[in-house]
Each structure stands twice: as structure tokens, then as C-alpha cells.
């Protein structure tokens, strides 16, 4: 339906009034859509600050008559769900995964894009092929593998197996294919090898793509659920998503606490997101994710 915004614009006439009406209509539509998109965030905050009775009452209250900030205290004091620790774990995992993935995938992407090698194509397709294999397909063997390494319930187990993102590698390769060759050539003339060219010339000129891929990886790591659920078996290795799931799968559901927890789990991410948003957009524009 939003594709219609284009169509509903007045195309039949150049009449100024109509053009302006079309613009106004588009703006109204956009505002309506924006409101729809914000509803879930509103619900998170509303339910998180409401009392249980207000959430489940028959009459809709737009906002709790009195915000129950005690819900927040209750959440962080709940002995059954170590939310603070889970948030810390999620942060550690997301940061480490992002750093590791950026390093490994960008190196690989550069190598695939720029270092002439007979079997480079074969390697590239081998990487690309894994994009098509859903993680759940190999889930059980992966779990057994990690556990035979003795990594269950360790941060290692939660982080290392997720570092090898074919998607990130693919994006970096596409980006580096379009990287201006002149810059590298100049470096090569200066006698720098691949390694030093990469670190001194390529990386400093590629910040947006690193920011873009980094954000995507960070979000993915923060939000991943199935893997941490099974690998993070001890309460001390729960992530925020796992802690959240404890509210929904329990015999009893504690709605207000659940929504406070959900809100707490997305706030760090929203901050990162809002701060880095312009890099993502710029990165996407230059990276060729969409080429």
C-alpha cells in the first residue's frame, strides 16, 4: 500500500494545488505509517510501567495512571532471572562477536576480492554456498561439536562458532571489488605488500562499510536466541534473550515484568542503532550490499 504513495501523487496535471495536495497526502500517509511502526515500542513501555491489573483489565488505558517504576526494581531484584547479568553477557558476546567477525570477514573479503589466486573462485562459492544453509539444519551436529570441544556454558562456546559469517564476508568482498584501485596501486608502488596496504590504505578508507557490517552483526549477535539457549546452559551464561524467554515459557506469565525486561533488552541496542544509523546508511550506499 505505501507503494501507492507514488501513484496517488497527482500525475495528470501540473496544477500546483494538486501537487501540494499530493504532497500533503503523502505526508499524512507517512505519519500514519510512522505511528503504526511506533506502536510496539509504545506497548513495551506502557505494559512495562503498568501494574498487572492494568495490563489485563478490560478497558484500555493509554498509559498507566501511575507509572510503576517499581517494576524495574522488581525485575532487577528477581532471584529467578538474573537480568543484569544477562545484559552484561549479551554485551560481552555482541562486542566480541562483532570485533571478531569484522576482522575475519574483512580480511577474507579483501583476499577474495583483490589477491589473484587460482582457486579464489572456488573458495568464494564455497563461502557463498553456506549462506543458503539455515543454521537450524546443522544445529544438532554443531551442538555436539561444540560440546565435544568442552565449550558448553562458556563464553567461548557462545562466541567462537558464530564468528564466521559468510554474509559479512560476502559484503566485504563486494565492497572491496569496488574499492578504487588507484589507492592500492600507489601503496604497492611505495613497496607496501598486501598486508600493509590493507591496514594502512584500505581499512582507514573503508570505515563506513565496517560500521555498517558491524552494526548488522552486533544486532544479530545481541538478538540471537536458539544458540545461546542451548549452549548457555548455566544461569551464569544466560543472555538477555534467554532470560526473556524464561518469562514466556514458564507455567505462569508475569506480563509487567516481561515487558520491562523486553524494554531493558532493546534499549542498549536502540542507542547503538540511533548513534550509528548514519554510518549504516552511508555504509550500505558504498558497500554494495545491494549490488
Amino acid at each position: 500500500m505505501p507503494a501507492k504513495t507514488e501513484r496517488t501523487a497527482p500525475v495528470r496535471t501540473a496544477d500546483d494545488a494538486l501537487v501540494r495536495a499530493g504532497r500533503a497526502l503523502r505526508l499524512v500517509l507517512l505519519i500514519a505509517l510512522a505511528a503504526l511502526f511506533l506502536i510496539p515500542f509504545y506497548l513495551l513501555v506502557r505494559n512495562g510501567l503498568a501494574s498487572e491489573e492494568e495490563i489485563t483489565s478490560a478497558g484500555w488505558t493509554f498509559f498507566p495512571s501511575r507509572p510503576h517504576w517499581s517494576n524495574v526494581r522488581e525485575l532487577f531484584a528477581d532471584p529467578d532471572v538474573p537480568m543484569a547479568h544477562a545484559l552484561l553477557n549479551s554485551s560481552l558476546i555482541a562486542v566480541a562477536t562483532t570485533a571478531g567477525t569484522l576482522l575475519l570477514a574483512s580480511l577474507a573479503g579483501y583476499g577474495l576480492a583483490r589477491i589473484p589466486y587460482r582457486h579464489a573462485n572456488a573458495v568464494f562459492y564455497a563461502v557463498l554456498g553456506t549462506l543458503m544453509v539455515p543454521a537450524a539444519v546443522t544445529f544438532v551436529p554443531s551442538f555436539v561439536l561444540v560440546s565435544s570441544l568442552g565449550w558448553v556454558s562458556t563464553l567461548r562456546g557462545l562466541i567462537v562458532p558464530t564468528l564466521f559469517s559468510a554474509f559479512a564476508c560476502f559484503v566485504f568482498r563486494q565492497y572491496f571489488l569496488g574499492f578504487p584501485r588507484e589507492l592500492e596501486d600507489a601503496a604497492q608502488v611505495d613497496g607496501l605488500g598486501y598486508w600493509r596496504t590493507y591496514w594502512r590504505v584500505v581499512v582507514p578508507n573503508s570505515r563506513p562499510v565496517f560500521a555498517a557490517v558491524g552494526t548488522i552483526v552486533f544486532i544479530g549477535a545481541w538478538n540471537s536466541f536458539l544458540w545461546p539457549l542451548v549452549i548457555g546452559q548455566g544461569r551464569s551464561s544466560w543472555t538477555a534473550q534467554v532470560a526473556l524467554s524464561t518469562f514466556t515459557t514458564a507455567q505462569t506469565i508475569n506480563l509487567h515484568e516481561l515487558f520491562v525486561a523486553a524494554t531493558a533488552s532493546i534499549i542498549p541496542l536502540l542507542l547503538v542503532f540511533l548513534l550509528l544509523q548514519r554510518y549504516i546508511v552511508a555504509g550500505v550506499e558504498r558497500s554494495g550490499i545491494d549490488d
Partner: protein
């Protein structure tokens, strides 16, 4: 793959040197990928040829029995149909919504950053959180759900969104979760694409008398976005194939999963990882699924010419 010069004659030593550098850059990544993706994948294929109940080192070789059992299982076949229906909904819907958003936001003279942020923001949310909001607050089946409250204002009866199969309202819930989560991300891809459309194309079109709006979109903008469109559709299809999180979080209960809206991954999850733990059968299903995905993706990229640009 642009590897100019690789066909030209080079001194041996230089070539070896390059191979060395290639593996220095690519080696660690490929080694990890091999260990954490290819080894489990091979293991899955191996398991699929055995009667592997509750074991990952089976001894009872059964050949292709698991494959015939899986293909003969009406529940698995219907899960493939579910998946096809879901893809048929979600791919065009996300494509249209994100392109529409991009076009609308792109033309804004003010508050562009605000609207872009609003639509982009949900991309940061997890399926767990989104499914929770949808299931428990927006589309719960009782009187205090948002959707039912709104219906109530118009005097309508509450609808059990996730539980009613006639009409299948659960599709509305499932599709809107994913739309909300994803549209913003693809909108940004389209926005990036729009930035790259040369202004002179529009100027030329205006000179030729093309009216702004639909005609310009049809003849200039849309063709110029072709590369972006191809990539978006490919990502959407691959994403749809991997659908698991929202289905699982919306529809599973403590005892299992209903027989409808059960895509292949969810069905396999219950077959292989549930208490049944029939790893042989589950692996066979996974291999079948992976083959289908591979074929579809390859065909799609051949048809749409993905990667042709690189030559």
C-alpha cells in the same frame, strides 16, 4: 571474479607468494567456516543415512529410508506448502512496503532523518521481543489485546488471532511481525540505491516530457533500481527460507506446535531436537530442505542475473 592477470604468465615465485598471501587473508575465515559449518553439514548428511534415534554416532545403516519416509510424510509436505505460501506473502509485501517507504522518505524535504529512523528502528529488535509483543499485547485473543480493543470500539467480538484457523488470522500476525522487523532495513537498501540514480536521468526525462510521479518511476527510477531489487528479493527469499524464530515464538506452546503454519524448519526442529530426537529422519529432512533452497537460489540468481555485473 575479477582476477585480471591471473591468466598471464607470471614468475612461479610470485604466484606462490600470492597464494601465501591469499591464504593468510582468507585462511582463518575459511578454516572456521569449515569447522563450524561444513563439518556439521557433513555430519548431518551422514546421520541421514542411519537410524539415529537419540544418538549422533549411529550404527544402524538404513540407506535412503529416511529420505523416503520424510518425502512420504504428509506433515513434512504440508510444511513445504506452508513455506511456499509464507514466501508468496512475505516477499512481495516486504518488497512493496520497503520500496514505498524509501520513495516516500527519499522525497521528503524535512524530517527525513526522523522518518527514516522510525522505520529503521524495528530492525534493531529481536524476533523474541517482537513475537512477544505481537502475541501477548497486540494480537492476543482476549479483551485486553490492542487489536481486540480496537475491534471492541466498533462493537466487534474479540478474535482469537493466533488460534483461529477459519479464517486463518494467524497469517496476519506472522506476516506483520516480519514486515515490521524487516521493512526498515530493506528501505535503507532502496534509499542507498535511490541515491545512486544519476540526476541527469531525471533531467533528461523531464526534457522528454515525462511527468513526475508514476511515469518517471516506471521508466526511470524502477529500472535504475534493478540491481538493488535483485539483491533485495534474493535476501528476502533466503530470509524466508530460514523462517523459524517468529513462528516458534508465536505458535509453540509447552506441549508442542499446532499442525498449521508449521514451516519446514519448525517441523524438523521438533522431529530432530524434540524428545523424539530422530536425528536420522531430521537430518534427511534438513538435507532435502537445503537442496531445495540451493536449487531455488541458483535458479533465481541465474534468472535475475545476479553477479553478471562483476564480469
Amino acid at each position: 571474479m575479477s582476477a585480471p592477470g591471473s591468466t598471464r604468465r607470471r614468475p612461479r615465485g610470485r604466484e606462490r607468494n600470492r597464494a601465501l598471501w591469499f591464504w593468510t587473508f582468507v585462511g582463518p575465515f575459511v578454516a572456521g567456516l569449515a569447522l563450524f559449518t561444513y563439518v556439521p553439514l557433513a555430519w548431518s548428511v551422514y546421520l541421514s543415512l542411519f537410524d539415529a534415534h537419540n544418538t549422533v554416532s549411529p550404527t544402524d545403516f538404513v540407506g535412503l529410508d529416511n529420505y523416503t519416509a520424510m518425502l512420504g510424510d504428509p506433515a513434512f509436505r504440508s510444511s513445504l506448502v506452508t513455506f511456499a505460501v509464507f514466501t508468496a506473502f512475505i516477499v512481495p509485501a516486504t518488497y512493496a512496503l520497503s520500496l514505498g517507504l524509501a520513495l516516500a522518505v527519499n522525497r521528503l524535504r524535512f524530517a527525513q532523518a526522523f522518518f527514516r529512523s522510525v522505520f529503521f528502528l524495528p530492525s534493531a529488535c529481536s524476533y523474541v521481543v517482537a513475537a512477544m509483543v505481537w502475541k501477548l499485547s497486540v494480537f492476543n485473543g482476549v479483551r485486553f489485546g490492542l487489536a481486540n480493543t480496537v475491534l471492541g470500539w466498533f462493537g466487534a467480538e474479540p478474535v482469537a488471532w493466533l488460534a483461529s484457523t477459519d479464517p486463518p488470522w494467524y497469517w496476519l500476525v506472522i506476516v506483520t511481525v516480519r514486515l515490521w522487523l524487516q521493512a526498515g532495513f530493506y528501505m535503507v537498501l532502496f534509499l542507498a540505491g535511490l541515491q545512486r540514480v544519476p540526476v541527469r536521468l531525471y533531467e533528461a526525462a523531464a526534457l522528454d516530457g515525462a511527468r513526475p510521479g508514476w511515469q518517471t518511476f516506471r521508466h526511470i527510477t524502477f529500472p535504475a533500481l534493478r540491481a538493488t531489487s535483485v539483491a533485495v528479493v534474493l535476501l528476502l527469499v533466503v530470509g524466508a527460507f530460514q523462517a523459524f524464530d517468529e513462528f516458534y515464538n508465536l505458535l509453540s506452546d509447552s506441549r508442542g506446535y499446532p499442525p498449521y503454519a508449521r514451516p519446514p524448519l519448525v517441523y524438523l526442529y521438533y522431529t530432530a531436537l524434540g524428545q523424539g530426537q530422530d536425528l536420522g529422519l531430521g537430518s534427511a529432512g534438513a538435507v532435502i530442505l537445503a537442496l531445495i533452497i540451493a536449487v531455488v537460489t541458483v535458479v533465481q540468481s541465474r534468472v535475475s542475473g545476479l553477479g553478471r555485473k562483476e564480469e
